[in-house]
């Protein structure tokens, strides 16, 4: 799904320019992708590794809130679609880990960083899924926000990440349509179904708006990432695009966005909207959201409970290899 890069990029642009640096800068300027075997500044490598691994972790942790509802999906068709969606997220996690591995860090190390709490993942997954309508709303809003954020990144400067995102975006766009379809069915359904859809929108709206990260005025490090073309639009620009895209959809559904300050501004052609509770945002990033501990605990349990299975698979592979060697001898 999506991750806002919360921490600042490593280092800066002030390093002395070597010949290698000049080639790198030239490629960036001419929008030629940087590939794993190319020279790159350490700070670029570290920033990308953090961004891609955060994104991968977000996909893996993101399986949990929606996975909750696989068992209770209200029709067999919805159950299949939801399983396929959560499965796609596992797949996204895998290709993103592979993209990150091209920067020289093995997946086990990234997993360890997630499980120890050192690595971040998107805060949106620290909110609970309380009703079936949340499954639709996540598809509609959270995947919608992810697409807005990620489509530009398919043109980002690092080749493996850009290419992974092409596939991720295609699948996210399918997820978003499925989510919208669930919300639409509920919004046009019985009064109880409609109320459930409105309740989900009330809870997910502001966290979704905050998915694009802190306001530009507070993210002074955007500039480096922008110069490196691993970030192509500012947080506030992407957020505005999300609001502009989503408000008419909510109107079409007959649902009310929970923002009394929301209004269309004729002079700008954009929707003006209220200020999110940024204190809540920073609280959740720091580990104090409704589900932070539950999410990490679930991942740790899966990892710890699965250790004997991974050990067995390795032991078996070693035995087979040993037998093949002795047969050949």
């Amino acid at each position: 799904m999506y991750t806002q890069l919360v921490e600042a990029p490593e280092g800066g642009i002030g390093e002395a320019r070597s010949a290698e640096q000049a080639i790198f800068d030239d490629k960036i300027d001419r929008s030629i992708t940087i590939e794993p075997s190319d020279w790159m500044p350490d700070a670029y490598r570290k920033t990308l590794l953090r961004q891609i691994s955060q994104h991968a972790h977000s996909e893996i942790v993101g399986m949990l809130p929606e996975g909750n509802w696989i068992s209770r999906a209200p029709s067999l068709e919805r159950k299949l679609i939801l399983m396929a969606k959560v499965q796609d997220e596992a797949g996204h996690g895998l290709y993103l880990y592979s993209a990150a591995e091209t920067l020289g860090t093995p997946r086990d190390e990234m997993t360890e960083a997630l499980l120890s709490g050192r690595a971040k993942y998107s805060s949106i997954f620290n909110y609970p899924t309380l009703t079936w309508a949340d499954v639709g709303t996540i598809g509609w809003l959270v995947d919608g926000a992810a697409i807005i954020n990620q489509i530009p990144l398919t043109r980002c400067s690092y080749g493996p990440y850009a290419r992974a995102l092409v596939r991720v975006c295609k699948e996210e766009s399918f997820h978003q349509r499925q989510g919208f379809d669930i919300v639409s069915t509920l919004a046009h359904g019985s009064p109880e179904q409609h109320a459930m859809a409105q309740d989900a929108l009330n809870r997910w709206w502001w966290p979704s708006v905050m998915m694009f990260g802190p306001p530009d005025s507070e993210s002074q490090h955007n500039e480096t990432s922008m110069r490196w073309k691993i970030k192509l639009f500012s947080n506030d620009d992407l957020r505005q695009k999300f609001v502009d895209q989503t408000v008419p959809q909510a109107e079409a559904l007959g649902l009310t966005i929970p923002d009394p300050d929301l209004r269309y501004d004729e002079s700008t052609g954009h929707y003006a909207f209220g200020t999110p509770d940024w204190q809540e945002f920073y609280d959740v990033v720091k580990g104090n959201g409704p589900c932070n501990r539950d999410r990490l605990r679930a991942r740790r349990e899966a990892y710890d409970d699965g250790a004997w299975v991974r050990d067995a698979a390795l032991a078996h592979a070693e035995k087979r290899a040993a037998r093949a060697t002795s047969d050949a001898a």
Partner: protein, 258 residues
Amino acid sequence: MSVPPDIEVDAALFEFALRLGDSALVLGQRISAWTGHAPVVEEDLALTNVALDLVGQARLWLTLAGDVEGAGRDEDRLAYYRDASEYRNVLLVERPNGNFADTIVRQFLFDTWHFYLLQRLGSSNDERVAGIAQKSVREVAYHVRRSGDWVVRLGDGTDLSRTRVQAALDELWPYTGELFAPDDIDRAVAGRGIGCDLAALREPWLRHVDGILADATLARPKDGWMHSGGKSGRHTEQLGYLLAEMQSVRRSIPGDRW
């Protein structure tokens, strides 16, 4: 094989389709609980794939059951509005997920049976049954290979994995008898060339199971007393919980469309 004269063909086919659909649905529901919690991400993908196949197959069988019954019940009406006593799945599939070895052994014993059954139903003289079986058997051929591979890895892995997979096998073996014990419904569909002789599936099933157990260095449990009852609606305690959860949203909130 004699055809019990007192069972109408449609009534028998309805029950038979429910048995296949319910077994696929209940097992799909069980293994989908691993999604997001598997030992490695690759297994999240693989287990979910199998769950997707099984729930997909369940939809086909339940739709057929509804059509044959002719009372206007579609797949969801049948899946979400029947209680445990109306479910017709074999008991094996409703056993809890337990640890990964329990899940894999349950899957392996079922997949192997499922494969040979669907293979025979592919030449059913009811085109609808044959069609579903032919489509499903291609998916199940992969399930059998996958679960068998895992039985071998766990059996011939570490001491701990071997202990766990042997314990799972010992625990689940008494649920395999039901798979091969035909009742009047099975005889009615088999006698008309719609179904097949379930007892005759045991020989190929056992041959495949024995081969895998040998590779896995596991001991086949002795055949003794066997559980039964699932096919006629007498289930274990676990099915009620599974259905209560699965049906909760659909039953608790008014709505025609979801």
